[in-house]
């Protein structure tokens, strides 16, 4: 159930619930992204797009009332022993590829790919009259353009078949079966999540998660097989970096000049915005040039103070300031981010 997916995001230490939910809903403020990083759920950024915050909050409240979560202080939640047990016991599908949401317009790709596969399947069977699976004009226009770029129908269909066969062949057979049974094409309307749930004895929400994750896995596969016909449909929906364009530009400017105030002036941004850009980039790209911003002296001080402490989310800026009154919050936060990346690399 949704409850179980939600429960998995918490641990035995308190976490900021709203921040976690906003990670899933795809909010990209620095404080949300930082929470995602410290709680280890950044890979699920944007994966529950469109689900209202109220739904998350209501579900969390229900879990508190049932004794699976506790709220040690307002806004924070942690697993109770019952909650821990429930998390350990659940056999719900665990997604593995949701990080695709960071750089790929996965939902748009899913809509286009579904229509494209239907068009190819019907075309190879010489069907010209059929109901398109989506009537969204943008999706139809993009798939039409894609179809025009393809070679002969039978060759495209054969290539699509070969690609899907190779991709699905490396999956758990049940996942492959779910993927194929949900497709729409010649003489196959495809099964709904509820129907797949009945057939494979899983809950509908699990199917939602499985299909989302399978699309992400397929996206990753297509990215490493650029000659597959569907890769052409995917390419325009991929960003080079998860970092926003504006923040990327700030990082580029910074690596040239190294002077934050000058960048702010040239780009007519507030200095605080420039710092936010750098933090966003630092959170989303582990290879961020931390040592260009943090001087050796600052680094030494901070690692003297926090070197042995793993609880990054709980460090207090005041502690660091007590050692070095000149230290800025920006530097402190950047060091936290660096330590998070170090811990996971």
């Amino acid at each position: 159930m949704f409850e179980d997916y939600l429960l998995r995001l918490f641990s035995v230490t308190p976490r900021r619930a709203k921040a976690i939910f906003n990670v899933l809903r795809g909010r990209r403020t620095v404080s949300t992204l930082f929470a995602g990083l410290t709680y280890g759920c950044l890979d699920q950024l944007d994966s529950w797009h469109g689900v209202p915050l109220e739904r998350f909050l209501a579900t969390a409240e229900a879990l508190v009332n049932q004794g699976f979560l506790a709220s040690p202080q307002p806004g924070y939640l942690q697993l109770t022993p019952d909650g821990q047990q429930r998390v350990a016991a659940t056999t719900l599908y665990r997604p593995v590829a949701l990080s695709a949401f960071q750089t790929v317009a996965v939902r748009q790709f899913a809509a286009e790919a579904q229509l494209a596969l239907q068009v190819v399947s019907e075309a190879v069977h010489q069907q010209r009259r059929y109901y398109p699976v989506t009537t969204d004009p943008k999706t139809q226009a993009r798939v039409k353009a894609w179809v025009r770029q393809q070679s002969r129908t039978r060759e495209v269909a054969a290539a699509v078949y070969a690609g899907l066969h190779a991709f699905l062949g490396q999956l758990d057979p049940q996942l492959a079966a779910i993927f194929v049974a949900s497709l729409t094409g010649y003489r196959q309307p495809g099964l709904t999540d509820a129907q797949l749930g009945v057939r494979f004895d899983r809950q509908p929400i699990e199917l939602l998660m499985i299909r989302k994750d399978l699309t992400c896995q397929w996206v990753a596969w297509l990215q490493s097989h650029p000659k597959d016909p569907l890769a052409g449909l995917l390419a325009p929906l991929v960003k080079a970096s998860p970092v926003s364009t504006s923040a990327q530009r700030t990082v580029r400017d910074f690596s040239q000049s190294g002077d934050l105030n000058q960048i702010a002036q040239n780009r007519r941004l507030k200095p605080s915005t420039v710092r936010e850009h750098l933090l966003e980039a630092a959170i989303l790209t582990p290879r961020f040039p931390f040592k260009r911003v943090l001087s050796p002296a600052v680094l030494t001080q901070l690692s003297d103070g926090f070197g042995g402490r793993q609880d990054v989310a709980d460090w207090q800026f005041a502690e660091a300031q007590a050692v070095n009154a000149q230290l800025t919050f920006f530097e402190f936060r950047l060091y936290q981010i660096m330590r998070c990346h170090d811990a996971t690399s």
């Binding site: 699976v133 989506t134 004009p137 010649y186 309307p189």
Partner: protein, 479 residues
């Protein structure tokens, strides 16, 4: 345009040799530049009328439609019939895609749009800049039965039509009493429109009512009908939740292929279930009235109403989805005394006393936001500066109309004489003589043998296929 040319077009574009009842007359009036109110039974190919007229006259056909899901069905259907320059403008699209669509209106042949959307200045301006071939108001009875309560924006369609330069207008509906027809032409300001009327009577649909003692007996009868009468079957409910629950239960107890269908499903799920049903991969659909407005499946053999419809007009419309192939079909209402209270309370949800209406106007005057569905509806009136007394009058008239409609429906349900006669007299038509295959009188059994509607052997649920075989079937020819 000569009649022969129209027949030629019909053959060439759609592959038909004959027009269905009413189609030709409506098309000829429209091509002569006259407005038409067409009351044609469901399944008579209403969309063919505006498609054909649209292909003859230059310019854009604008189709005003009440529901997003209906519009999507219609766009899909036109796509299916080879019309590619078709789009729906809906509130589900983001600003960017809407703007894009508006910028290329001149490249479209058909545009589906809700009254709310058409009312938006940007949309209206864009539509005014292109030539209009035809202005179509689909499900035109919504102006009357949905107008004052649920869709206040329908009330502005008359003004909108003026603002579009009074284009030739086609009003389409499947059922309309004389009162509703008057309402439609008055609201749309086309008092001289030609009325092309075809009977609401569908002689191949046997009309039945099962009066039961309680909910348990109702469920048992539902199950028995599903197990003994030929399919495919549509069962209508008034609540979303009950469609899903009953679908699950029927699947378990009958072993048939059953699915729930309602407006709460995603567009993808709605598409899949409709197509499964159309292609014979489902035996029973448990649906709310959202199902079927855009569906054209000819061989539905039974339509069951688990809950009462809200009016005879709705009922005729909903059972009209059965037996479109002309073969015998069965329409059954499952009735437990007191079921009308559910309809009554649904009606009450959208009614309000003069005091409540006046209080809400005060709220609006204080610039406080609408709190509930009722004040949202009322907001539309206040925004147009209509005074509370006038709104109250409308609400009172509307409540009385609903009361009359419910009473007429109950006369049909509890009738001890020919039900078809009761139904047709409500629409001002004469009934044919009652016979064994006409309708079910109290105490009579269903004549399933005579109707040829006994269910055959249950279909064997297909084996779950290996994914590799399934994939080959999808993408490889001659597999």
């Amino acid at each position: 345009m000569q009649q022969a040319e129209l027949y030629h077009l019909l053959k060439q574009k759609y592959g038909f040799d004959e027009f269905r009842p009413g189609q030709l007359a409506v098309i000829q009036h429209l091509l002569a530049g006259e407005d038409v109110l067409a009351v044609l039974p469901t399944g008579t190919g209403k969309s063919l009328i505006y498609q054909l007229v649209g292909s003859v006259l230059p310019g854009l056909v604008v189709v005003v439609s009440p529901l997003i899901s209906l519009m999507q069905d219609q766009v899909a259907r036109l796509n299916y019939q080879g019309e590619k320059r078709v789009a729906a403008l809906t509130s589900q699209q983001d600003y960017g895609s809407r703007q894009q669509l508006l910028n290329r209106l001149d490249q479209l042949d058909f545009l589906f749009v809700s009254p709310e959307m058409l009312n938006q200045p940007a949309v209206l301006t864009a539509v005014r800049q292109v030539q209009l071939a035809l202005f179509v108001v689909d499900e035109a009875h919504c102006i009357s039965t949905w107008g004052p309560d649920f869709r206040p924006d329908y009330l502005t369609l008359g003004t909108l039509r003026n603002q579009l330069g009074d284009p030739v207008t086609l009003m389409l509906t499947a059922t309309a009493t004389a009162r509703i027809r008057d309402d439609i032409t008055r609201q749309l300001r086309v008092p001289t429109a030609h009325q092309v009327l075809y009977s609401v009577n569908r002689p191949n649909i046997y009309l039945a009512v099962a009066t039961l003692s309680d909910e348990t007996a109702k469920r048992a009868r539902l199950r028995q009908l599903i197990e003994t009468v030929a399919g495919p079957v549509v069962v209508y409910f008034s609540s979303k939740r009950q469609t899903d629950l009953t679908a699950e239960w029927l699947r378990d107890v009958t072993g048939l292929r059953v699915a729930g269908y309602h407006a709460g499903l995603s567009a993808e799920d709605r598409f899949k279930i409709q197509q499964q049903f159309m292609t014979g991969q489902l035996d029973v659909i448990c649906a709310t009235s959202a199902f079927g407005m855009g569906i054209n499946k000819a061989d539905i053999r039974m339509v069951i109403h688990y809950h009462l419809p809200t009016s005879l007009a709705d009922y005729v419309q909903e059972i009209g989805r059965a037996g479109r192939d002309g073969q015998p079909a069965l329409a059954v209402i499952l009735y437990v005394a007191g079921d009308e209270h559910l309809v009554q309370s649904l009606n009450d949800l959208t009614s309000a006393t003069p005091a409540e209406i006046a209080a809400d106007q005060q709220r609006f005057a204080r610039k406080q936001p609408a709190q509930d569905a009722l004040s949202e509806v009322l907001d539309h009136y206040w925004q147009r500066g209509i005074d509370p007394a006038r709104v109250s009058e409308q609400f009172v008239a509307r409540a009385a109309a609903r009361q009359r409609e419910l009473a007429a429906l109950l006369r049909y349900v509890t009738s001890t004489t020919c039900r078809r006669a009761v139904m047709l007299s409500y629409f001002g038509e004469d009934a044919p003589e009652h016979s064994l295959t006409c309708c079910q009188l109290p105490g009579a059994d269903l004549p399933l043998d005579q109707l040829g509607l006994k269910r055959g052997a249950a279909p064997t649920t297909s084996e779950v296929e290996d994914w590799e075989i399934q994939l080959k079937r999808l993408f490889l020819l001659n597999f």
